[in-house]
């Protein structure tokens, strides 16, 4: 029988909420029986996106929530993280691995998301990111 499910929830904009949100995502994905590596990558990418949404999008305003959508089917896991901020242009982020930027502490979270997930797409406004990981990789 095909497995598929989706769950949406909202996270207050506070770093203290990250562990519980992350645990909620991983627990929702349990039916997929993913290996340790995949779980590590999914957790890391989700947390990086959530942290950016809390810090840069919603600017730590607890009255603003981050919307999280977790979906899976037989082929993939999709994680969507959306804040209520003004958005940004991810194309303008400097490459954190470029020699003159490597020791600057900006952009590494998004870089890891792009390397560990199979697809990372921002909406035009830049306040919503959808990350996809194919299960067959």
């Amino acid at each position: 029988m095909a497995k598929s499910a989706r769950r949406e929830f909202f996270v207050p904009s506070d770093f203290a909420e990250v562990p519980q949100a992350s645990a909620g995502v991983l627990s929702f994905l349990e039916p997929l029986e993913l290996g340790e590596n995949a779980l590590f990558d999914l957790r890391l990418c989700f947390e990086e996106a959530l942290i950016n949404a809390v810090k840069y999008g919603n600017r730590f305003r607890r009255d603003l929530k981050v919307r999280v959508l977790v979906e899976f089917d037989d082929e993939k896991v999709a994680l969507t993280v959306e804040d209520q901020g003004r958005g940004f242009d991810p194309g303008k982020l400097a490459d954190c691995t470029r020699e003159d930027h490597s020791l600057k502490n900006r952009g590494r979270g998004i870089y890891l998301m792009r390397k560990l997930m199979d697809k990372v797409e921002y909406n035009p406004k830049g306040n919503r990111v959808c990350m996809i990981r194919f299960l067959s990789r």
Partner: protein
């Protein structure tokens, strides 16, 4: 996260356990700020998870050590943690060793 620090062969060794994440990395940063940072080894053998804030904390320590003309070694990384350093190309900037003893050897002052 738990961290303890001790001296070995003139090297400040920081043994970190648990997760270095957005909520624990500030505590680790404060620990580094309290100690002298000329010859340093950070042993990550008991670290199960690190995020970009954890990587940033280690980069900040590296910069401080370099500013004092010192050396910083990392040891005991799991394959997963090591892969994050490789993906972000940070492995080019740190002395990396399999064991704490090897890292101390690389970093200590020649006798």
């Amino acid at each position: 996260m738990d961290a303890k620090t001790f001296q070995k062969d003139g090297v400040n060794v920081f043994e970190v356990a648990g997760e270095i994440n957005i909520n624990t990395s500030p505590e680790l940063r404060k620990l580094f700020e309290r100690e002298s940072l000329k010859r340093v080894v950070v042993d990550l053998q008991k670290v199960s998870y690190i995020d970009s804030s954890g990587l940033a904390t280690l980069v900040e320590v590296l910069k401080r050590v370099k500013a004092q003309g010192g050396l910083l070694g990392l040891s005991g990384m799991s394959d997963k943690v090591r892969s994050l350093f490789e993906i972000t190309k940070l492995d080019q900037f740190f002395l990396i060793a399999e064991t704490r003893e090897e890292a101390v050897d690389k970093v200590k002052q020649p006798s």
